[in-house]
Each structure stands twice: as structure tokens, then as C-alpha cells.
Symmetry: C2
Subunit: 344 residues, 2 copies
DNA sequence: TTTTTTTATGAAAACGTTTTCGTAAAAAAA
DNA sequence: TTTTTTTACGAAAACGTTTTCATAAAAAAA
């Protein structure tokens, strides 16, 4: 084995320099009450001077904790999720914890692989937002059995007994629809991300119930189930906008589908909002400067992340078993912009 | 200490069940040539059946490697960086490595803290893109001294002897400027992110040289140094657009400043491109559907991330010391859209 | 004063792996 | 046949911490 040239610095070396035992030095660095103030001061100073940093694997192994939580999300290139991460991070930092980010890229298989990777104590707790493909959640049950604290946010696994942080999907969809219906829309298309996710279903229910309230019958060929294939989605939207039974408005479950719709409208020279109005769930930073500005239902992403982290920490520290039923529902807000403006 | 109810499963238990020694089981699971094919098969099957997963801390501690790389970036809520991460991830996955994402939020202090956190072997290598505040890079020298492979991308530390992956900042800025100048702009404002980062300086040089080529003198009150305070930046832009010496075009070093400019123009009823043209470095997904569509200089973000990872792995595996001089420069592309359209 | 308690330290075990080294048994070479 | 090599496994050390436990010295109580 190659012995490297740079100076190795560990507890053993440090204690040698300090002429103290390893255990004393360790305790001093961990601010144990067993150690005198004078010794602590001396040890901490020397550790800093010699640039000592504890080996995380050794200490995690011995102490059986990692001071780390994982956040599993579909993608970071999405304002909702990156804001949620920032919320979680802000909370975790206060607890002196680190956050590991895992992307599933909306693939169930990746989600399963990540769960396996986290199976053996790599993190002290996990926050999850499901893949749009996730129809089976057995892989999370394994983690639960193992005793790893688990919290779901936004895209939650309804069958798993764990705290869930969501937004008022049904109500916000209903409110968004009422806004559209008030401006006179009769043929509203629904672009969904998944047919298994609860958020998709709840938004769908809000959509349907708003239609019913206005005595409008939902039409099958205005309902679009989208998936991971961006090009296929665009083709579907194109077909939707060119079919006989054209919609006069689009209700998009996620901003990705609103963006695709904008692009198709541009291509087909369909005018928003004159020809078709668009509303979308979205945390897009550029919503207000789009052509035209996009009417959004915006979720409190940062707060969701922060809240999820705070509940996760209660699980980690207290092992409150009955916390499982703790379901938090935060409110989304409708921001009306030009994409649903008056028909002229 | 609380002994938990769920079944503990480690090498010891597994070897007991298999009636083999711990070392044999370990070797079998690691596909060692010392173990017979029959035994390997038996061991692997049992491990799967009993849901055994090696404790990562124990194995990292013993083997002195983590099979993990870190990516330090200013923010994930930025298409350039999230694409770069995806590029790095795609390469790392092929090598059976994991990627840890660390955000500095553009704060030097956070960058320093993250370096300390990574100081003791937590990862096998690090990819970095600097904070806009980073004017001193001593914290990276510590990591280098420690022997941890280091690669910079996009926002590089020029003083540190390590591989750097960048884009043709000078040339692309020059080309972008030529485009603006060709459309007749005379008073072009430069919105910079930092006065220390090399990318900012190079883009600035390209900007200046293009002006000079067209015999235009750079004007001080058209140069805007922006920082982390979004509101302050907006105020500066507002002032710029209302001062006597108004610009007829804006050259933004990062998309965040282009977005701010759009918002201010909207507020002040300044028309793009009629009153002021805008061009920006950007990987914005919505660039083409903005009002008006934004002319961008777009960097090959995914490729940058992938390339950086590939060079990092060469450092990790081969310990090629002379790789330090390896500087890769990829090309950005100018995408002309309406925000720099003809003056009417 | 003596006894008890407290304080501050060190020795050694433990965390769960990987890896080195030793060694029977089997196979190959002599 | 005997000797050498190879194969397949096990015992034990090692990775760098934290934590338990034992124990001298100091302080407090008797």
C-alpha cells in the first residue's frame, strides 16, 4: 500500500501531541462534562491549529448516527423542488444536520435503488416526494420496518403510515377552475402528470367538481395523461389543440406541461389567452414575464420543505410513534395573470 | 441503550446463518477471486433473501474510500447548475459512484464551511463552481494538500493548480456583442455578477474589446456590478434605465440579471427590444417563451458537468499529478431571439 | 482526622466492515 | 510416489472514532 506523503492527522496523533489519552481528547472535542474547562480549551485550540477534522465514517459508525437527512425528489431542475430543498436545508442547518439530495428523474426504478442505498443507516431520516411513476411503495415499507424516520411531502404515498405534508390540492384546483369558468370557458382541458399520484387525483377531482358545479360535463378527449417523454407530451398537446373538439382553456397540473403548451401555441400560432387560456400549478420564477404572463396556482414550496424537515426531526429525536398520523396541509395561492385574461 | 425490535442484519449474523466465517462472506459479497463460485452464489442469495446491506460507514472506514463525489455549486435553482449536476451524475453512475450536492447560496462563508466538512475523506473527489463572492481560495488549497482530487468548472479558481472546465467566455461575449452592435446599439450596459470571478472578467474583456473594435468608448455609468441582494440589484437596474445616459441594450452576465431587467422594463413600461435590447448568458428553459423571447448565450451545461466528472475520475483513479494543467474549454452558442430584434 | 463524594483522566471495548496472513485440503508437477 | 503449487477458507488485525468502565486525585462531608 502506498503511504501518502501528506501528514496524517487523527485522534491518535492529536492525543500524542497533547500528551493526553485518545478518550480524553475525543471527549474534550465533543464537549463532554467529564473534561475540565482548561483541558477542553487546550484540546480545541490544538485541534484547530493542526487542522484536525474527525473522520465522519468512524464517528458515524461508532455513534450509529450520521447527522444527515436525505431528500428524495423527482428533479432539482424544478423550482418547486429546489425551493423545498432550501426550506429543508434551512431547518436542518439549525440542527447541525446535513442534507443529501437524491434525484429520481421521475423513474420508479431509481427511487427503488435510492431506497436500497439508504437502507443501512446512511442517513438518520428521509424526506420523499414520489416519482410520477410510483404506483407501488413497498420499498418505503422496508425503510420503515428498519426504523428509519420517513416523511412524505407533496407527492405522498397514501398507503404508508408516515407523516405527510401536502397542499390543498382539491381546493386549489377547484378555485383555479372557478376562475377559468368565470371568464366564460366551457371546454377546459386537463393535463395530468400521472394517474396514480394522489396530488394528480385530487387536482383531477377539484377539476371535475368545479365543472359539475357549472353543469358542464367532463369530456374524455379533453383529458390528457402525460408522462416522462417530453416529445410525446408535446405531440399529445398538439393533437389536443388541433382536434375537432378544441379546448378553450388548459388546466396544467405541472409547469412543465404549461411550458410545453406555450411552445405548441407559439408553433401553431394559437393566441393565449384569446384562443386558449392557460392556468398551471407552478413555482416558475419567470411566470410573470412569459408571453403572456402565466396565471399560476403557486404552492408554498419553501414552507413545505421546512415543515417536512421539522416533522422529520421530531421523528428522529423523539421517536414519537403516533406522529405517523400527522398530516399537514398548507395552502396554495392563485395568482391571476394575463394567460387567463378576458376574452376580447 | 434501547435495543430496537427490528432484526439486526450484519456480516456477523449473515455468516452465522451461512455457517461461514465473516471474512469469507465479506469476500464473497465483494466478488473476491479467493472464493469459489458455489460459495459466492450461496452467499449472495442468502444476503438478498435476508435483505442484507453493508453498513456504508464501516466499509468506507475500512476501505478508505467512499465511492462518492461532491459537487459544490452556488445554487440548484438554476438551470445551468442543475444540468451540470445531471451531467456529472450520469458519468458517476456509470462508475458506480454517488454524487453529493452542496449549495453555497453564493456565500463564501458557506463555501468554506463545506470545504471543512469535506476535509476528512467524506468524498473521494470534489467538483466546484465558485461563489460570486469568492476572492480567496485558500480553503481549496487545504483540500488539495490533503490529497483530495479537485476539479473546477465554469467558475474556476485560477490560482489553484487543478483541472478546470470552462467555456469560451471571452469569445462568446465578443460574439454576443457583435450581434448587438450589428443591430445598431451604441450604448450597451454590462451587468456583471462579480468583480473577482474569472468568468465575469473574461466576459467583461470580450465586451470591452468588441466595443473597441467598433470604436465605442466604454462608459462607466453603463457598467453595473451586481451582488447577492436581489432587491438592490433591481434598484441598480432601475436607476440604470432611468438615468440620463440610458442604455439602448443590456448585456447580462447571468440569467438572474436578465430576469430582473425584464421585470424592471415591465414596471417602467420600457419596451424590449424597441427601447432596449437584452442579451444574456442563460440556460433558461423558458427563454423562448418570454415576453419577448430572450436572446441567449447558452453554455453546454450538461457536457460541462459530465466532462468535469470524467476528469475528476481520472484524478481519483490514476493519481495523474500532471493532470492539473488539463484545462478544457467548451463552446457556448448564441441563440438569437426577439429581445435583440430589429429596431423598428 | 477519616470517609465519602466528585472530578478528571485513561484503558479498553465496541461499531461493522475489509484485508492481511496463515493453513488445511486439493490439484498439479515432479 | 513425493513435492510443489493452487484453491478456498478462517482468524485476527485494522480503519478512527465513541463510550463504558475503572481509578487516581481532589474536594467535600463526616
Amino acid at each position: 500500500m502506498l503511504r501518502l506523503a501528506y501528514i496524517i492527522m487523527n485522534l491518535k496523533e492529536l492525543s500524542k501531541v497533547l500528551k493526553l489519552s485518545i478518550s480524553t481528547v475525543s471527549k474534550a472535542l465533543n464537549d463532554s462534562s467529564e473534561i475540565s474547562a482548561a483541558t477542553k480549551k487546550k484540546v480545541v485550540a490544538k485541534a484547530k491549529a493542526l487542522n484536525y477534522h474527525a473522520n465522519p465514517f468512524a464517528s458515524n459508525l461508532r455513534s450509529q448516527k450520521s447527522k444527515t437527512i436525505a431528500v428524495i425528489i423527482p428533479a432539482i431542475a424544478n423550482n418547486f423542488f429546489s425551493l423545498a430543498i432550501n426550506g429543508a436545508e434551512s431547518y436542518a442547518q439549525g440542527k447541525d444536520y446535513h442534507v443529501l439530495i437524491y434525484q429520481t428523474h421521475e423513474e420508479l426504478q431509481k427511487e427503488i435503488a435510492i431506497c436500497k442505498h439508504l437502507y443501512n443507516g446512511r442517513v438518520d431520516g428521509i424526506m420523499v416526494s414520489l416519482t410520477r411513476q410510483t404506483n407501488d411503495t413497498a420499498h418505503f415499507l422496508d425503510l420503515k420496518k428498519k426504523g428509519i424516520p420517513l416523511v412524505f411531502f407533496d407527492r405522498v404515498a397514501e398507503k404508508i403510515d408516515a407523516p405527510k405534508i401536502t397542499t390543498d390540492d382539491y381546493e386549489s384546483a377547484f378555485i383555479g377552475m372557478q376562475h377559468l369558468l368565470k371568464t366564460g370557458c366551457k371546454k377546459i382541458a386537463f393535463l395530468s402528470i400521472s394517474d396514480t399520484l394522489s396530488i394528480s387525483n385530487k387536482r383531477h377531482d377539484g377539476f371535475i367538481d368545479a365543472l359539475k358545479k357549472h353543469k358542464i360535463k367532463p369530456e374524455k378527449n379533453l383529458m390528457l395523461a402525460c408522462d416522462n417523454d417530453e416529445n410525446a407530451n408535446k405531440k399529445k398537446i398538439k393533437k389536443l389543440l388541433t382536434q375537432k373538439n378544441k379546448p378553450d382553456a388548459i388546466f396544467a397540473c405541472v409547469e412543465e406541461l404549461a411550458i410545453a403548451s406555450y411552445e405548441i401555441c407559439e408553433e401553431l400560432k394559437i393566441k393565449i389567452p384569446q384562443d386558449v387560456k392557460i392556468i398551471s400549478y407552478s413555482n416558475l420564477q419567470t411566470a410573470s414575464i412569459l408571453n403572456p404572463a402565466l396565471t399560476t396556482i403557486t404552492q408554498p414550496a419553501y414552507e413545505i420543505g421546512r415543515k417536512a424537515a421539522s416533522i422529520l426531526f421530531r421523528l428522529i429525536n423523539k421517536k414519537e410513534p403516533n406522529l405517523s398520523e400527522e398530516n399537514t396541509v398548507l395552502k396554495s395561492t392563485l395568482i391571476v395573470r394575463k394567460s387567463t385574461g378576458e376574452k376580447k
